[in-house]
Amino acid sequence: MSEILVLVEHDGGAAKKVSHELLTLASRHGEPGAVVVGPGADDAGLAADLARFGAARIYTAPDAALVSAIVAPKVAVLAQLMAERSPAAVLIASTAEGKEIAGRLAVRTGSGVITDAVDIDAGLTAVQSVFGGSTVVRSRVTTGTPIVTVRPNATAQQESAGAGEVVAVSVELAATDTAAAVVEHVVQAKGGRPELAEAAIVVSGGRGVGSAEGFDLVERLADALGGAVGASRAATDAGFYPHQYQVGQTGKTVSPQLYIALGISGAIQHRAGMQTSKTIVAVNKDAEAPIFDLADFGVVGDLFAIAPQLTEQVESRKG
């Protein structure tokens, strides 16, 4: 069976959920080869975890130099493995950096690239959901090795034991690969909540939330539900909430089981990032707000009254 390389996203010891999802997809269409780059790549627990999700081989490149610059070093690792292993395809998470890695890798290896796939069908056809979910497109790479980025939360992760043979990889970096040097990594995120793109439940606030303080209501509901917090662009532009939580065309695309929109009108660019959520609940005081056109359950009302009551209800019903 031919090998399918999966670039693993990890934090030095644990793989992100999306990497399990990519391994699940790779297992379906070939033999998964997990590629792990950066410090912690050789962690034994991480290897066991990747094997549990089907990795037949685990290529480890723990050299810190590989994360001292953005994008290009990972491209170098993948390009080298592509040359050595001639995989049937390369799968990368459809994150901002993942897409850039895929793009550079495509140019470097003379391969076609497809981004934002939600599934991979027989014959390595990539399925994309575009225009806010209104159109489903099937495409195939016709030149070189298919390089496909897959959206987080689009595939149900499935365990299937793989051999998990660890193969150490060392890569000679060209000077151009390390030219964009990372001087400092600044962390601003609020910890303790599931990652937005991977969360099963997302509670988002919009301009209607009114202020940064108002987002306490959104956070409390999210915490009661064990979900992540999102925001509309109007809310991040106004400084109510940090930009990395923006949902929509120029923010994150989320596809949770449950999306709760509080004080969000539902502009087309916002819908583009949340329309494929399984269940959508909206609270908005304007009965005409377009968000109601796609909400499975909509409440016309004041979020400042409803959100705290809902938080209480959730907490009491959880017992």
Binding site: G103, V183, V283, I306, L310
Partner: protein, 266 residues
């Protein structure tokens, strides 16, 4: 030393319009929506102008680079009316249907026709939504990419640039020697409105056109035929339907909770 900053801009269908694909060749139906300057590229132009302005009156210039059909001149004029100095328009029917790989090849060749220090891109085109062209151009030119910048600082004397690259949990400070490829996110600045004076001036600013031959590209490398991936099929999904809508009468939260219990989400 004066700087040349190239701002790469694309003409796209208005992001407010519903988009669809054409049955004939599975490309975007560009006639069904008003063509506009990609909103996200306005931030690239603005940032390019700010970098130029920070240099003082030293002869630094902003060049607009756009690949697109004939009518993209409207978009180029808009960019010029914001204050850019001159423009390069890559225009050729053979480019219709180019994928990101081919677009990056054409833009790279076009960038090769002029000397420059910084090429500034938007974070994504709102129609293709790939966010890969800047990285691809950097790859082709073997230049550093300083992408997804929410802040750009140029050290003219040291001939380097430093950006705050937006990440999932904050930002990375990333630095490289010029020339560099930059892309900027929408939080970086507030794009200016063209002044009447600049709108008039834009009509007279130099606009150079380049076709596939002038770029020295093989026509087989670009356009639909040159694409490295192909759409096999597409289908329209019925739009998502709204479900229940109630008005809160003090029991709204309870009704949501009941609904969630019914959906086995609580």
């Amino acid at each position: 030393m004066p700087l040349t900053i190239v701002a790469c801009v694309k003409q796209v269908p208005d992001s407010w319009a519903e988009k669809r694909l054409l049955d004939i060749d599975s490309t975007l139906d560009r006639e069904s929506a008003d063509p506009v300057l990609n909103e996200l590229d306005e931030y690239a132009i603005e940032e390019a102008l700010r970098i130029r302005e920070a240099q003082g009156e030293d002869g630094s210039e902003v060049v607009v680079l756009c690949m697109g059909p004939e009518r993209a001149t409207d978009t180029i004029r808009k960019a010029l009316s914001m204050g850019a100095d001159r423009a390069i328009h890559v225009v050729d029917d053979q480019l219709h249907g180019s994928d990101a790989v081919a677009t990056s090849a054409a833009l790279t060749r076009a960038l090769g026709t002029t000397q420059w220090d910084l090429a500034v891109f938007g974070s994504e085109s709102t129609d293709a939504r790939m966010s890969v062209v800047p990285a691809m151009v950097a790859e082709r030119l073997a230049l550093p990419q300083l992408t997804f910048a929410q802040k750009v600082e140029v050290d003219t004397a040291g001939r380097s640039a430093t950006v705050h690259r937006q990440t999932d949990d904050g930002y990375d400070i990333v630095s490289a020697a010029l020339p560099v490829v930059i892309s900027v996110v929408e939080k970086i600045n507030e794009p200016r409105y063209p002044s009447f004076k600049n709108i008039m001036a834009a009509k007279k600013k130099p606009l150079e056109t380049l076709d596939v031959a002038a770029l020295g590209l093989d026509p087989a490398e670009v356009g639909l035929a040159g694409a490295w991936s192909a759409v096999e099929a597409f289908e329209q999904r019925p739009p998502r339907q709204g479900g229940v809508k109630i008005t809160d009468e003090g029991d709204g939260a309870t009704k949501i909770a009941d609904y969630l219990v019914g959906q086995k989400m609580l």
